[in-house]
């Protein structure tokens, strides 16, 4: 049950269809453990595709990223964009369709059951300085890492991405075709958020001060988020200007608080923002707080049900009046 083989077979077929313009998938990166997104347009290119625990990116970002090179309408003409998604990624498509960010009929969703992806930072710490292409596979509860000529096995729990330990959708939702694989059922009690909630106000203030002061406002978190796609973003707009261009704690606070809030009820917790951050800021601690509260206050989860309406365009007369005078 090799996901890579199945994926290549599907891609060959999909890229041969008349109604498909291109396919976004993963391919081998330029060195070591790197994997890169790729845009394929020809069935002959299908063998470039891979699928492994190194495939951490959320490729649905490219559905909404402006000027997607080969994907701009003038280049590809009409035709669907096929995209390879893991469970977490598939939730993005559900949210995008619910809020009319994309039309469901414009995409062809290729789901892949993912048993888990690695925590890249932990991996590179444990197997540093890989230059020759390296590989990682996951079988049951064991990672097998082939790097610089030697093969090592590591228990899944030591290298797996934290988000995979609490994944509720390792079976992708709303797909047109599926690459089957092992399925786990997990629950998420938001223990990480509860821990931070349990600290004092002063401790929390100190926590966010420490982490958000390091932010250099590179906008990688926002650009990599598939759900941040406003053509004019409130965070770097100049007329009117909400967030100043100076980079200091108050502005960084506003940036991250406003961005997290704009994702409330939309964030699918794919964790990309935290992965891409060059300053190692724990952004998921913030996004997950909102996901937890949204579930608690409004019994709402983003992207699980493709038919669900967006959070803030709906209401219940009995919504909580918490703290309201």
């Amino acid at each position: 049950m090799d996901a890579t083989k199945s994926l290549r077979a599907i891609a060959r077929e999909v890229l041969g269809r008349d109604d498909i313009a291109c396919l976004i998938g993963y391919e081998q990166g330029s060195y070591g453990f790197r994997v890169q997104p790729c845009v394929l347009t020809d069935p002959d290119q299908a063998d470039r595709l891979i699928f492994s625990p190194l495939c951490v990116h959320n490729l649905t970002n490219y559905l909404t990223l402006e000027q997607i090179g080969p994907l701009s309408k003038t280049d590809i003409g009409t035709g669907k964009i096929a995209v390879v998604v893991k469970g977490c990624d598939s939730r993005t498509i559900a949210v995008l369709c619910a809020e009319n960010g994309i039309k469901r009929e414009d995409v062809y969703v290729i789901g892949v059951h993912s048993p888990g992806v690695v925590d890249l930072k932990k991996l590179e710490k444990r197997f540093p300085n890989a230059v020759a292409p390296a590989e990682v596979s996951l079988e049951g509860d064991t990672f097998t890492i082939t790097c610089e000529g030697s093969t090592t096995t590591v228990p899944r729990s030591e290298l797996v991405n934290a988000k995979c330990l609490r994944c509720k959708t390792n079976v992708p939702v709303g797909c047109d075709v599926m690459v089957e694989g092992p399925v786990h059922s997990m629950s998420d009690e938001f223990a990480d958020v509860a821990e931070l909630e349990g600290r004092s106000l002063a401790e929390r203030s100190g926590f966010w001060h420490e982490h958000l002061s390091r932010c250099i406002r590179c906008y990688a978190c926002r650009n990599t988020c598939p759900l941040c796609y406003c053509s004019e973003c409130i965070l770097d707009k100049l007329r009117p200007q909400f967030v100043r261009r100076s980079v200091d704690y108050p502005e960084n606070f506003l940036f991250h608080a406003a961005r997290a809030f704009h994702l409330a009820g939309r964030c699918v917790e794919c964790g990309e923002c935290e992965r891409v951050c060059p300053q190692d800021i724990p952004l998921m601690a913030l996004n997950r707080k909102l996901a937890k509260d949204v579930k608690e206050l409004f019994d709402f989860e983003a992207g699980i049900d493709p038919a669900q309406k967006a959070l803030f365009v709906s209401f219940r007369p009995e919504d909580p009046d918490e703290g309201i005078l």
Partner: protein
Amino acid sequence: MSSFEPKIVAFLCNWCTYAGADLAGTSRYQYPPNVRVIRVMCSSRINPAFIINALLEGADGVLVSGCHPGECHYTSGNYMARRRLVLLRRMIEYMGIHPDRFRMSWVSASEGAKWADVVKEVTEAVKVLGPNEIKREQAWMQPSL
């Protein structure tokens, strides 16, 4: 801290709370002068970024007040606002800002007395907390003299 006078920015919906505050004035209800009012047409106009921006601009507290649920002049604006702002308050508390710095209230056009009570309560609570620590720098030059 007894000499600290907080600056509180209040976003009031035009149809209910703004009118209610007006009534409080004509009825000569006494209440603390710390509130700076910004009139909006509906509480749902409030983008959560306004709240945080107000704190950054130097407000020690922010108040948003609108029509009672079910009585919104635009039918459902306050329901939307309620969803957003209840969640926002939880989020900023999580990020280290005391929840008393951001309050919401429902004050109708005939509730002048309630308006005065709301302002009193909010002002007193913010006074206890002291000046807001997350503020933008505005002055980089010492005044001469």
